[in-house]
Each structure stands twice: as structure tokens, then as C-alpha cells.
């Protein structure tokens, strides 16, 4: 391959890689590198393929040069830089999914006292938990914690309310259940 073709190809790839730079800086950078190559060829005193290849190798890849431009703040809003900066914050920011999940899970238990309470309770819980697991803002650890908490709270609530009804229906008929519900210890004795 001809030295000219090698150089032209290299500069073409540099221009493509530098597409993320502001137009004036891209033109300047390409001109600087072109000038460097010409100076190096003049310095070497020959312009055969091997010489050109050696000069381009020493320059480094076009991507490396553009990465250096980003490192030195030459990119006003580089895509790589911007995503690196934003990634951690979007990871914990609440969106519609997260808010809906929390609202549904909070409403699930009170919904039991509405008409179709059992259905509403189950539906709110199921949809809420599905949304929790669909969230991209929460880590798997948090999702597991949330699910465990919901199930544990329901189990606790069922355990606390179930004995009252059991004790009252099987308890002494002369003593009706008070509105607050007697404690199992008292009714059982």
C-alpha cells in the first residue's frame, strides 16, 4: 500500500472519530496531526510505506487521540463523559414506576375494607410487587427487602387479627366480643 493512501486513511479515521468535537477544534486537530505527519516524513527523509506506518503507529490510534481530547476537557458534552456522570444519579432517582409501586402497596391493606376488598387487596399487592421488580432505580437487594417486608407485614397482620375471630366464635357465648377485640389470653382462660 502506498504511504499516501495510509496517511489519507488515517486522517479519515481521525476525522470520523473527532466527529464528537466542536467543528473548529476538529478541523484544528486534524490539521495539527496532518502537519505532524508531514514534518515526520520530512524528518525521516523518505516517504515509503514502512516509514509512514511507523509514524502513524507512534501517533497512536485516532480513538486514543480523541479520548485524550475528552480527558483534557475538549468535549463540551461528550456522550461517554455525560453518561458516566449521569449513570449514578439515574440509578437511584424515583420515576412513575417507583411511586406507583409504593402508593399501591400502601393502599393495599386499607383497600380490604372497601367493597370487593379481598380482590382489591390482592390486586394492589400483586401489581405493586410486579412494579417493584420492574423498577430500574432499585437494586435487587432493595427489591428483595421490599418484598420480604410486604409479606412479613401481611403475615403479622393476619396473625394479629385471626386469633380474635377464632377465640370469639369458639369462646363463651355469655361473653360477647368487645368492639376492640379481646386479647387471646383473656378469652382463652
Amino acid at each position: 500500500m502506498d504511504a499516501d493512501v495510509l496517511v489519507r486513511d488515517y486522517l479519515g479515521r481521525l476525522e470520523a472519530a473527532a466527529a464528537v468535537l466542536p467543528a473548529d477544534r476538529r478541523a484544528e486537530l486534524t490539521a495539527e496531526v496532518r502537519e505532524h505527519i508531514n514534518a515526520a516524513l520530512a524528518d525521516a527523509g523518505q516517504s515509503d510505506e514502512a516509514t509512514a506506518r511507523n509514524i502513524l503507529e507512534r501517533l497512536g490510534s485516532p480513538d486514543e487521540i480523541v479520548a485524550a481530547e475528552a480527558r483534557h476537557g475538549g468535549l463540551p458534552v461528550g456522550p461517554a463523559v455525560a453518561s458516566a456522570v449521569e449513570a449514578p444519579s439515574t440509578g437511584s432517582r424515583w420515576g412513575a414506576v417507583e411511586i406507583t409501586a409504593v402508593v399501591l402497596l400502601c393502599l393495599a391493606w386499607p383497600a380490604r375494607y372497601l367493597p370487593f376488598g379481598l380482590f382489591l387487596w390482592l390486586a394492589c399487592t400483586m401489581i405493586g410487587l410486579v412494579l417493584v421488580w420492574a423498577s430500574s432505580a432499585w437494586t435487587t437487594r432493595r427489591k428483595l427487602t421490599a418484598t420480604t417486608c410486604v409479606i412479613a407485614l401481611y403475615l403479622l397482620a393476619i396473625l394479629l387479627t385471626a386469633p380474635v375471630t377464632v377465640q370469639c366464635t369458639t369462646g363463651s357465648q355469655s361473653q360477647p366480643c368487645p368492639p376492640g377485640g379481646p386479647s387471646p389470653v383473656i378469652t382463652g382462660s
Binding site: 502537519e35 505532524h36 524528518d43 501517533l59 486514543e64 485524550a68
Partner: protein
Amino acid sequence: MHGMVAGETRDPLTELRRGVLEHCVLALMRHKEAYAYDIVRALSDAGGLVTSEGTIYPLLSRLRRDGLVETTWRESESGPPRRYYRLTSHGQRTLDAFVEDWTRFRDAVDAVLVE
């Protein structure tokens, strides 16, 4: 300022080189104005202070933006006009401060390593 990617292995020499390179560039134009190509060659010849020569151009661009260096265009016998670099007074002060810091740092590291 440079974000560290988790799990990425960092070569201490690469980090050191990045840290001192801009001051070496400043030092190369301390006594007289310098042509970018000559700066790059001098760094390359000085025991590989730069591995990818092309990355010096983004660095020079930043030094211009930061007001540490200024440039003048001069006619050349061969080809288009060339840009020559020299230190501004801000660049000179930055370099002087670095030389002092570096000497202290180098002595401290040497003292520990040689023990």
C-alpha cells in the same frame, strides 16, 4: 477528576506520566519558543515520556485554553506557516511551582525506596 472504573487495573507509570506530562511540555518551551512537532519528538526521545505522540495535541490545546502557553504563527521554508509555542507568565509560574514540588516529591519517594 478522572473517573475510576471499578475493576480497571491502573498502571502506576501511566498515571504518573499523565500527571507530569503537561509540566514537561511547559519545561520544553521554557527557554525558547518551540514547534509542536519538536516538543513531541523531545518527549518521545526522553525515555518514552509519551507513548502515543498524537495525544500531545489535545494537551497543547488545553494549555492554550488555560492560558499557560501562547502561540505565534511563523512562515516556514517548507510548507505552510507553523505555530510556535511559548510560556505565558502564568505558565512560567505554574512550571516554577511544579519544579519545586517535584523535587521535594522525587526526593521523598527516593528516600523511601532506597531505604
